[in-house]
């Protein structure tokens, strides 16, 4: 028996449910020495903005117990240069491409970006990054406000039929409320979760370890929180969830499926073990066979309470 690993995310069919978290996979080229990229279920790009962004000053990363603090500040070449210089490589890989986009100051930028991407047939889906904690001008995140989330998703929904994924923030008191707002606005799926706002201090210099003082925390340290949020959202919404948060290996990936995720994204682990994604795909197959489960979709939300 060869278990079925394919899943649907909106109109998008993935041959397996393993993808990568935006911002942790560069523009895929960086990983081509390590893994066979075509084996991935999908690839999510680094977040693209309308104009090029230099990003935040260094130091941008620091290590914490079982975690990584980062504040890159959405460094990216801007949409035009992305389409010209980075997209051709993605097209060659032959797996679904999910382009992550964000606005810098005006949420209207989401519409302009989505219109540009909507015309390109090789782009399979758009992920709305309404939850990056590292942009200074942002103030409150869109994903911290159900109304603002609804409005952004709705406005993009109106102009594209491509699969829309909304990436939500864990820096909220009620994740299900925001998840519902995105769903009712027409999002096809949710990515759960982005990083947690955090900080770390060098006690000798009394300086923050990250130049922008606060940063996003990722890695195994945040996994239990991410699993909890997937579980909470899963019970309230019908659209698929892509589980993200400290997935390092097969057992951590399985937690997310059991909590209710349809697919998962590997994030921080890509920096440490660039082969993590492929090891998880193999591990999933093994787990399903061992547990006599024919289809990964029947694992979803199978939590024994």
């Amino acid at each position: 028996m060869r278990p079925k690993l394919s899943v649907n995310i909106g109109k998008l069919k993935l041959k397996n449910p393993v993808t990568v978290a935006s911002g942790t996979f560069g523009y895929a080229e960086e990983f081509s020495d390590f893994i066979d990229l075509e084996k991935l279920g999908a690839i999510v790009t680094k977040t693209i903005t309308l104009k090029p962004r230099q990003g935040n000053p260094g130091p941008r990363t620091a290590e914490s117990p079982a975690g990584l603090l980062n504040s890159i500040g959405l460094e990216n070449p801007g949409i035009e240069s992305f389409l010209e210089d980075k997209l051709p490589f993605f097209k060659k890989i032959g797996v679904p491409i999910i382009v992550s986009i964000a606005s810098e100051s005006d949420p209207g930028e989401f519409i302009i970006l989505a219109k540009k991407l909507d015309k390109i047939k090789e782009i399979s889906a758009i992920e709305l990054n309404v939850s990056c904690p590292n942009i200074k001008s942002a103030g409150k995140l869109i994903a911290q406000d159900p109304k603002a989330t609804y409005e952004v998703v709705r406005s993009v929904r109106r102009i594209t039929r491509k699969t829309l994924i909304t990436k939500l923030s864990p820096n909220v008191s009620d994740i299900a409320e925001i998840a519902l707002a995105a769903e009712s606005a027409g999002s096809d799926a949710l990515s759960l979760i982005n990083t947690l706002t955090a900080m770390s201090i060098d006690v000798q210099t009394r300086a923050p370890k990250i130049a922008s003082v606060t940063a996003g925390l990722s890695g195994p340290a945040i996994r239990p929180l991410a699993v909890r949020m997937v579980w909470e959202a899963y019970q309230k919404i019908k659209i698929p969830i892509i589980g993200i948060g400290g997935i390092m290996d097969i057992s951590s990936a399985l937690e997310f499926f059991i909590a209710g995720a349809t697919a998962i994204s590997v994030g921080t682990a890509n920096f440490i073990n660039p082969k993590a994604t492929l090891e998880i795909i193999l591990g999933l197959r093994g787990y399903l066979i061992e547990n006599k489960i024919k289809d990964i979709n029947s694992l979803r939300g199978s939590l024994n309470v």
């Binding site: 990983f31 260094g58 130091p59 990584l68 890695g219 390092m248 890509n270 920096f271 660039p274």
Partner: protein, 261 residues
């Protein structure tokens, strides 16, 4: 760029807090150039979570050596590894030094900065390079014997004067460049190249010296990094051409291009 499981051949204390690790990594050796580094997973678990970057220190037939100082959790864990164990390694990473033929090589190594420069000296030894090594005291000088055995012209500076020149390594360099005639044993200092690695203040000072004397220089920088292969964008530094990644655009930079802070 490879990810391999490398067998530890040796992991021995050199002095005080300094260790030399030797691993079997024939595949990495085939691609390795001086100035490049490797990302080492020092423990299988999450503590520490990230790999640790180490410059390639020396290459023998099928082994690569790393010289490191125990400064934190990562190096502490690494120092307890013993021969026969395996380490997950990614490498070789970064750009490395460009070795300019026909120029007189001056290697400037402050403290742990000797680590990548020994590999470079090995490749440049045919040109009898000048190697300046600096440390706080005589006891913390590293690799003096190794450089001499290769056949380099070694000069030493210590801050307390317990050996060699008393003062900063950059002061020794300034003295050599000003007091020694421009031509010495047929070698013109104006046709030299400086290769340097060491603490940031030293490299910053060296940038001034190299531009004042109009000697091209290459400096190896450090920055906190998560991946080491250009994906996380964590290790940026300011340059005249904008932000650059230490891991991929570097770690070796032209000091004139760096905006020193």
């Amino acid at each position: 760029m490879l990810q391999i499981k490398a067998r530890i051949v040796d992991n021995k204390k050199v002095s005080d807090n300094y260790f030399r690790l030797s691993i079997e990594a024939a595949k990495i050796i085939r691609e390795a150039r001086p100035g490049q580094f490797m990302q080492v997973k020092v423990s299988a678990g999450y503590e520490p979570l990230l790999r640790r970057p180490f410059g390639i220190h020396r290459v023998k037939k099928s082994t690569i050596e790393i010289l490191y100082e125990v400064v934190g959790r990562g190096t502490q864990v690494l120092s307890q590894k013993t021969s026969g164990e395996y380490l997950d390694i990614i490498g070789p990473l970064g750009n490395g030094f460009s070795m300019l033929d026909g120029r007189y090589a001056i290697l400037v190594a402050g403290g742990m900065g000797v680590a990548p420069l020994l590999f470079l000296a090995d490749k440049l030894v045919h040109s009898y390079p000048l190697v300046l090594i600096g440390a706080k005291t005589k006891g913390s000088l590293l690799c003096e014997g190794e450089f001499r055995r290769l056949g380099c012209n070694v000069k030493v500076a210590t801050n307390d004067g317990s050996k060699g020149f008393k003062g900063n390594l950059t002061d020794l360099l300034k003295k050599l460049l000003s007091t020694i005639p421009a031509c010495r044993s047929g070698r013109d200092y104006g046709l030299s190249t400086i290769y340097a690695c060491g603490p940031k203040p030293m490299l910053k000072e060296l940038a001034l010296i190299s531009s004042r004397h109009n000697i091209p220089a290459q400096v190896s920088l450090e920055a906190h990094m998560a991946c080491g292969f250009g994906a996380c964008l964590g290790c940026v530094i300011n340059t005249k051409q904008g932000l650059k990644k230490v891991c991929k655009d570097g770690p070796v930079f032209n000091p004139d291009e760096v905006i020193w802070q």
